[in-house]
């Protein structure tokens, strides 16, 4: 099976042989930092372009089509525009918090990258509470949104921030419970263990109906947690004039924008890891030959393929469904998703205890 483990291992040993351990650690940190920032830039360019193309194709339009072949360089031009634009700080805002909010949001989405396994043996930190770490740290990004909404000194921003706060706090519950379903089946919170447990088949197929229910709930809750349509009450262009980032411009706005897309990538990567096996190729039980053929496809392709498939599904939601009202949003969570996921987790516990899963 294709693995990046050798490469990372070679770099690691080379650094430690030739340098003082502390210095080697620093160099590794810097290396990871550069890689993560490069990934951010890549995601920002690709996901925005993908969003615009998907939306236009779903509405029978052409989409961006002026810059470069079929408009593929549109986002590059947009990035240049955002960088050279003035990042204004309005007069009556709380200047410190106003400038701190976008940085906090982007730092949080950088930190969540840590436990994600991009390919076999290619992971920043295989922390033993991987899944919990992601759900814990992602709850920090709401603070950045609340901070931006309050510091803007603007009633639309404040309303948007409060809506997004209520929304994220409530949808975190069902997202957490549906992630717990897989943790119960695997018996570990560690990302590498969860992926290894899916060697004979992905949990979506191995876990019977409860896993499918959990997957659907996870996708809905992930859409809500990333504040995307149909759950984009926090931004709601038509009623709140973009909510918490009304007052932001230039690169400060771009950081919020980037963080939104990176968060989509992260939740989809978590969904792909938990339910679709992360980098694990498509394996069916004991069909040795079939599994061997599947192993020829490199693991990063599996991981990014699954992740981008889930991103596509979330974009599909956005360009199909109209925005929910706030009461519909809370009804959906507290009357439907939460009771179903609590019942579902009881069911899956019974299945895991009785060993009925494959």
């Amino acid at each position: 099976m294709f693995s990046l483990e050798n490469i990372t291992q070679i770099v690691h040993t080379w650094l430690y042989e030739n340098m003082h351990p502390t210095l080697a650690l620093m160099v590794e940190f810097a290396f990871i930092g550069v890689l993560v920032i490069a990934l951010f830039a890549f995601l920002g360019l690709v996901l925005v372009m993908m969003e615009r193309k998907v939306s236009s194709w779903m509405q029978l339009r052409l989409g961006p089509n002026r810059i470069g072949p079929w408009g593929w360089f549109q986002t590059v031009a947009d990035t240049v525009k955002l960088i050279v634009k003035e990042g204004m700080t309005p007069n009556n805002v709380d200047k410190l918090l106003f400038n701190m909010a976008p940085i906090l949001v982007i730092i949080v989405s950088m930190v969540i990258m840590a436990p994600i396994m991009f390919a076999k043996g290619f992971q920043i930190w295989d922390i033993n509470i991987g899944v919990l770490f992601v759900s814990a740290v992602s709850s920090l990004s709401i603070i950045g949104i609340l901070m931006a909404g309050w510091a803007s000194n603007n009633k639309y921003s404040l309303l948007g921030a409060m809506r997004s706060g209520a929304q994220i706090v409530s949808y975190e519950l069902s997202a957490g419970l549906s992630m717990l379903t897989i943790v119960v089946l695997t018996g570990s919170l560690k990302m590498s263990d969860i992926i290894q447990a899916q060697e004979t088949g992905w949990w979506l197929f191995k876990g019977h109906i409860p896993a499918i229910i959990a997957f659907v709930i996870f996708i809905i809750a992930a859409t809500a947690e990333t504040n995307r349509a149909p759950f984009d009450l926090a931004e709601a262009e038509s009623e709140l004039t973009a909510g918490f980032h009304t007052e932001y411009s230039g690169m400060k706005f771009a950081l919020f924008f980037l963080a939104e897309y990176v968060n989509i990538f992260v939740v989809c990567a978590i969904g792909a890891t938990l339910f679709l096996g992360g980098w694990m190729p498509f394996h069916v039980g004991n069909w040795e030959q079939f599994n061997n053929i599947m192993d020829y496809i490199p693991t990063p392709i599996w991981f990014f393929g699954k992740t981008f498939f889930l991103i596509f599904v979330i974009m599909w939601f956005r360009w199909t469904f109209p925005r929910l009202r706030i009461d519909q949003l809370l009804n959906l969570e507290w009357k439907y998703l939460l009771p179903i996921s609590i019942f579902n987790i009881l069911l899956v516990t019974v299945i895991a205890l009785a060993g009925w899963h494959f």
Binding site: W57, L60, L62
Partner: protein, 159 residues
Amino acid sequence: MNLKQYFADIFNGVKSLATGMKVTGGYFLRHHKEKITEQYPDNRDTLVLAERFRGEVVMLHDENNEHACTGCTACELACPNGTIKVITKFDMTPEGKKKKAVDTFIYHLELCTMCNLCVEACPTGAISMANTFEHSVFDRSTLTKQLNKPGSKIRAGVE
């Protein structure tokens, strides 16, 4: 809320969501065959606009450079925002009588809202709405137009 209703709600909700996603998913799959938007600057030569589209007011001239405007100023009176100004003169008829006629028909495109009231008010059908729409210019004053062509005169028999 009874339990049967609850599950029926969930089922119907999921079904209606799936219906919506089927529509957009279908569009996504056949997007390359079907486009509902006009690729405007590229298809300038083949662009067809609806006949009822109102782009600007024009005065109709025939091949002899004759129009049907009698200078009655009905259009000027009908215009809600002073877009039209008709300057009249007095022609001498062969019988030696004075007859009112149009001298200059001034039309301010920059003020016009394309409401079509002037066309409806015209008793002789001298003006109508054209469907040109590329009106952007660098100098505002070029939007003030004279609609009767130089040297044109009223068609014989139009009263």
